[in-house]
Point group: C2
Chain length 112, copies 2
DNA sequence: CGCGCTGTATTATGGCAGTCAAACAGCATG
DNA sequence: CATGCTGTTTGACTGCCATAATACAGCGCG
């Protein structure tokens, strides 16, 4: 029953990351439970867990087993910083090359 | 036996598209054969064929079975135009939103 | 303590995308 | 017409993604 352009667990990962960065999930607060988010997004709890897992490994969310998962201190800033670096190092060069090939100029689009 | 970040046939598709746009494969000329390109890129002929297939459907390359595939008239211009539209309509908005979320501004990117 | 919430592990199933090997089909040239 | 190039079709195999159904493990509160 799959067939998406982007894997569900990656969409969820982005959803959570965005929430942490923009303050929807402030530091220290409890994140939506695996089952709750699964129900809300119409996904499987296991898939949601997989999305959360990436953040635990990076220490961005702290797990209190039996209680819930909480946004770690400094998570927003750390996350924004790492995503920024990754963007500039990996994605932007390719985007830039592609734009150049198509005859598009960055500053023309950014000033819109 | 797979496991790449970007599928091979998409990389090949981009390679061919770039060649058509920048004049490496001028209009009217014959494109590299399926097997030749496969050998050169270390890929499977069928994977190359899959990459070419997208262009045939769009009429950007014309097939003479048993002879070869040729760049159609006006292919470069048509391709550049469609890729530009697709980029501006689909990719750029997401990129822009992502940049905004990360707090990236024009001056961060144009320092090259 | 027991009930209800939390995350986690196990196992099995289904589907789809990507890749590949081998055989098939069309055209040109000697 | 046979050789050698072209593109094309068929069938199969693999790995990832997602799902489901259980069962287990930790914590808090009445």
């Amino acid at each position: 029953m799959a067939g998406h352009s982007q894997p569900v667990y990656l969409k969820l990962r982005d959803l959570i990351a965005a929430g942490i960065i923009d303050g929807t999930f402030p530091e220290g607060t409890m994140l939506p439970s695996v089952r709750a988010l699964a129900a809300e997004q119409g996904a499987n709890p296991l898939t949601v867990a997989k999305a959360y897992q990436q953040f635990q490994l990076d220490g961005l969310v702290e797990v209190q087993r039996g209680v819930g998962m909480f946004v770690a201190r400094g998570a927003a800033e750390r996350l924004r910083r790492s995503e920024r670096e990754a963007f500039l190092a990996n994605e932007w060069p390719q985007i830039r090359a592609r734009m150049e090939r198509l005859g598009l100029v960055a500053k023309d689009l950014l000033t819109t």
